[in-house]
């Protein structure tokens, strides 16, 4: 202790370690030196020493912390059971979070691979009448929007489709993006080699050009730079196109699709047959300083303007822009955030479990800590040591978690169905942001655990007394804290269990939904033939007839038909419905109904029931008068109380007779309401591309080899894609729900196990702590069953409290799930009761083991123990 008052005062302002090790010996030296030299007070010198000590403080603290950390790692190795349990629990919790965050980061957070991507938008069209939003807009409207808008720097039309690239030996299927030069400008793409498509390439009568995607160039042309400048044959109707450039590596547009080739597209012009005669996709770049909201205000004003100018075509047509990221992410965002929330709950449960372990461990170490306090350790030192122990634990768990995530991330991505528009699925990896996230949550758990580690020590350390290990009793605060942790665990587990239950119920409802057709034993495939070989309708109809006959003759085939749209693939093309005898009043736009082009065999193959009239047949060929079939919903809406068959509908300038009424189907998705559809005969306008639907007597895929042979025999140049059973398409349409069910189920099961471990741990500890009390009860005549019920009762109280809180939270959180649910209420009482029942039963089983142990307590040994 310094001899001067100033020395003592300054000394008291320093942390204990600095005071004891640095300041006091230095002050003593200074005082002795001053005495030797016969000088007076040494205030200035002491002040300098004081400041010097503070300068050295960070190094000293780090050095001490390093020692504490070394000690902490030794402790971890000394207690392998605790270490393995805690590290595994945390590694699973943190690892699952990191894996899910890696997906969230790639899809929602990482910048899109375009310069200044926040200013890129996709234009969308919404029909007020049907409420349907489409990603494509009418060509007539595009032309007007392009001419009148002032919010966008550039606005471009594009389209994506499959094409064929011919080589010297073989033809290769490729994905194409055809775009007006404005798109390349809007994306600010820098070519890897050659040049970009520009306005001159889209001018009329210019030689056709093409840009190749980087990967396609590598794969198909071996990365040969001489390809640039060469002409290659491309297209279903082959055309020689000059390769003018190579897109940069990783370029893809739209994001979800691989872009193999990019064509130039001439700027759309107002179609002659009507504004809605033709559709394009549209992308644009906002002008600098223009916000999305103000662009949407302008689009809305333009849509109203066009509605006034062309009421018969534009009534109810609204246009709006969404950012490129939002357009591509679509409904993936809420699902991902929900997943992140769910996996966050698993982490909380894991943390609660480890916190409980730490509290139990700290209670067992009270004597050790008391000895430290008795030997002069201050509160700060004890806290530092606990922080070091938590850091050691969390860092080991953090490394294990990143290892878990390294394995789990690809597994998670592989679970995502291909139909889900996961824009950046190929780029999901553990990058710096993800590792920072892992470090962040590890740090958070470290700090939290330090607090819990100190919980069991606080009182005794303050008193600094030595506690006999035989007489350790749990403080009320500690007991409450551990019970509270288990209550939180149970509540969170209930939330996850009920979430999984709701999604399970929803999935079950989806699977039991009648789509209006029978997908069982139906094979589907997409076909295309070179259009230049089947230029007129007659040739195409003949081709279709030959295909139907050849496929129909294959063994096991019951029915075969063709259609343009495959159900349950999200298609929502529409067509205006206008009764000829009750036309829509002038100046109004007829309401839209779903559009489908199908042959008569399609209805038979899909078993879409005929309710009235007839299916399409060979009598509806190109030369026959136009006919249509309507679905039950159209008949009910437009022909209430009348027979629809025989009536005529207006199709532009033509009239078409309704020849049949069929059942409604859920067209875009199983979650859709049954759709009002109008069918046009494929026989009347047979196309050179479409889908074949084949009903078989046995397994549909069994006929594939013979089918390919039969079709190639009819047309050797036919290309076949997407050959798969209709059942698979149905399953794929519910895969998002299936994935959510799978993951929520996994998280819920983990939560249940962790909660069971938590309650088991707490009850085991409680039984150990109450051994003397139980021994006394037994000595006073308590029966084993009364002891059993005593312990079970204590566990049940904790479980019931957790269940009650969990149910209330689940009711509130259920609304977040509503976007994923189908025909299931977020607060479904059956599901909530089942979740509560499962958890209570698990909790009671977890309590039973310690309760049984309590019944075997020997009163003699427990009461005689010190």
């Amino acid at each position: 202790m310094p001899s001067t008052r100033l020395g003592r005062a300054l000394s008291s302002l320093l942390p204990r370690a600095l005071r004891r090790d640095l300041f006091e010996p230095a002050v003593h030296d200074l005082e002795a030196e001053q005495l030797r030299q016969g000088r007076g007070p040494v205030s200035f010198g002491i002040l300098v020493l004081f400041l010097e000590c503070w300068r050295l403080a960070p190094v000293e603290v780090l050095s001490m912390f390093r020692n504490d950390l070394r000690h902490a790692f030794r402790l971890l190795f000394r207690d392998p059971a605790f270490t393995v349990t805690a590290v595994l629990t945390l590694a699973l919790g943190v690892g699952a979070n990191v894996a899910v965050f890696a997906v969230v980061n790639a899809v929602l957070l990482r910048p899109l691979p375009y310069a200044d991507a926040d200013h890129l938008v996709i234009l969308k069209h919404r029909d007020r009448g049907t409420g349907i939003t489409k990603e494509f807009i009418a060509v007539g409207d595009f032309v007007d929007l392009h001419a009148r808008q002032e919010a966008f720097e550039s606005i471009a039309a594009y389209d994506t489709f499959r094409t064929v690239v011919y080589g010297p030996d073989e033809a290769t299927d490729a994905s194409a993006c055809s775009a007006t030069p404005g798109l390349i400008a809007a994306l600010r793409m820098q070519p890897f080699a050659g040049r970009n498509i520009d306005a001159n390439d889209a001018a009329p009568n210019t030689p056709p050009v093409v840009m190749l995607g980087y990967d396609f160039w590598q794969k198909r042309f071996g990365g040969d730079p001489k390809v640039v400048g060469r002409s290659i044959k491309i297209g279903v109707t082959p055309v020689m196109r000059q390769v003018i450039g190579i897109a940069p590596p990783g370029f893809r547009f739209p994001a979800g699709a691989v872009t193999d080739v990019i064509f130039s597209k001439s700027a759309p012009v107002a179609p002659a047959g009507g504004r809605k005669n033709g559709w394009v996709f549209a992308a644009a770049r906002l002008k600098p300083g223009v916000a999305l909201a103000s662009a949407n205000v302008q689009l809305s004003a333009l849509a109203q303007q066009m509605e006034k100018e062309h009421p018969s075509e534009n009534q109810g047509s609204e246009y709006f822009a969404v950012t490129l990221r939002d357009a591509w992410i679509g409904d993936t965002r809420p699902a991902l955030l929900l997943l992140l929330g769910a996996v966050g709950l698993v982490l909380l449960i894991a943390c609660a479990n480890v916190a409980n372990l730490l509290v139990a461990r700290s209670l067992g170490r009270r004597q050790e800590m008391s000895v430290r306090v008795a030997l002069g350790a201050g509160r700060r030192q004890i806290a530092m040591q606990l922080l070091a122990e938590s850091t050691a634990l969390a860092s080991v768990a953090g490394v294990a978690a990143v290892a878990c995530a390294y394995w789990a991330t690809p597994a998670l991505v592989s679970l995502v169905p291909t139909s889900v528009n996961l824009a950046a699925a190929g780029d999901i990896r553990l990058d710096r942001t993800v590792l920072m996230f892992a470090a962040g949550i590890t740090l958070l758990t470290t700090v939290t655990f330090s607090l819990f580690s100190g919980l069991g020590l606080r009182r005794d350390n303050t008193a600094g007394r030595l506690v006999s290990p035989g007489r350790v009793s749990t403080g009320v605060a500690v007991r409450r804290a551990t019970s509270a942790l288990v209550i939180v665990e149970i509540a969170l587990a209930i939330v996850l269990l009920s979430g999984a239950g709701l999604v399970l119920q929803s999935f079950s409802n989806l699977l039991s939904t009648d789509p209006g057709f029978t997908s069982d034993r139906v094979l589907t495939l997409a076909f295309a033939v070179p259009p230049d070989r089947y230029r007129d309708g007659g040739a195409r109809l003949a081709l279709h007839q030959r295909v139907y006959e050849a496929v129909g003759a294959l063994p096991g085939v019951e029915h075969v038909g063709a259609a343009a749209v495959t159900p349950l693939t999200g298609n929502n093309w529409t067509v205006p419905f206008d009764r000829a005898d009750k036309p829509t009043p002038a100046g109004q736009r007829p309401p839209d109904v779903g559009w489908q082009s199908a042959s008569g065999g399609y209805f038979r193959a899909m078993r879409i029931p005929l309710l009235d009239g007839r299916y399409f047949g060979s009598e509806d060929g190109p030369a026959a008068p136009p006919v249509v079939i309507i679905s039950e919903a159209v008949a009910g809406r437009f022909f209430k109380g009348e027979r629809a068959v025989g009536h005529k509908v207006r199709l532009g300038s033509d009239l078409a007779e309704i020849v049949g009424v069929v059942g409604d189907i859920r067209r875009a998705a199983l979650t859709d309401a049954p759709r009002a559809d109008m069918y046009f005969p494929m026989e009347h306008a047979p196309s050179t591309a479409g889908g074949l639907f084949i009903r078989t007597a046995g397994a549909p895929t069994a006929i594939v080899p013979e089918l390919r042979t039969a079709l190639r025999a009819i047309e050797p140049a036919i290309t076949l894609r997407s050959v798969r059973p209709m059942d698979e398409i149905v399953r794929e349409s519910v895969q998002v729900t299936h994935l959510a069910l799978w993951l929520l189920g996994l998280f819920a099961a983990t939560a249940l196990v962790l909660a069971a471990i938590g309650i088991y741990g707490v009850m085991s500890y409680a039984v150990r702590q109450r051994a003397r009390e139980i021994g006394t009860r037994v000595a006073l005549g308590a029966t084993p069953s009364s002891i059993l019920w005593l312990v079970l009762g204590q566990g049940a109280r904790v479980a019931l409290a957790g269940t009650a809180i969990g149910l209330l939270t689940a009711l509130a959180a259920g609304r977040l799930l509503s976007g994923l649910l189908f025909s299931t209420a977020p607060g479904d009482p059956v599901v909530l009761s089942a979740a509560a029942g499962v958890l209570l039963a698990t909790a009671l089983v977890a309590c039973y083991v310690p309760a049984r142990r309590a019944t075997r307590v020997d009163p003699v040994s427990t009461l005689s123990a010190r």
Binding site: D21, H28, D29, L49
Partner: protein
């Protein structure tokens, strides 16, 4: 001779070397180092000594001494066996390296 690099910094080596001849006050050790150009502020010096104590290489204690009829406190130190052993190992290591260097120079000549 140990083949491993000594686990002592040059400053720790110097301090332990000074303590080889017996216990000394901290002030004396610091003055001796300063006389050889190794200047450290008093807190920085005692930080070094505290680490040596924590690592079990030296033992430190306070003693009352009289300076001009007044009693003052000073901190004294002595090397612990572990410290002596490490210092000997380090000295032997450096000596061996140095002697090999000399031999090599003679053989080159």
């Amino acid at each position: 001779m140990s083949k491993r690099l000594p686990r002592l910094t040059h400053l720790q080596f110097l301090v332990l070397g000074l303590l080889q001849k017996g216990e000394q006050p901290g002030r004396t050790i610091r003055d001796t180092l300063a006389a050889h150009g190794v200047n450290r502020t008093a807190p920085a010096f005692y930080q070094l000594m505290a680490r040596l104590e924590r690592d079990g290489l030296v033992a430190g204690w306070y003693e009352q001494i009289t300076v001009k009829d007044q009693t003052v406190t000073e901190r004294r130190y002595r090397a612990r066996p572990q410290g002596e052993r490490l210092w000997t190992e380090a000295r032997d290591f450096y000596t061996a390296i140095a002697s090999r260097g000399v031999q090599a120079r003679w053989s080159d000549a």
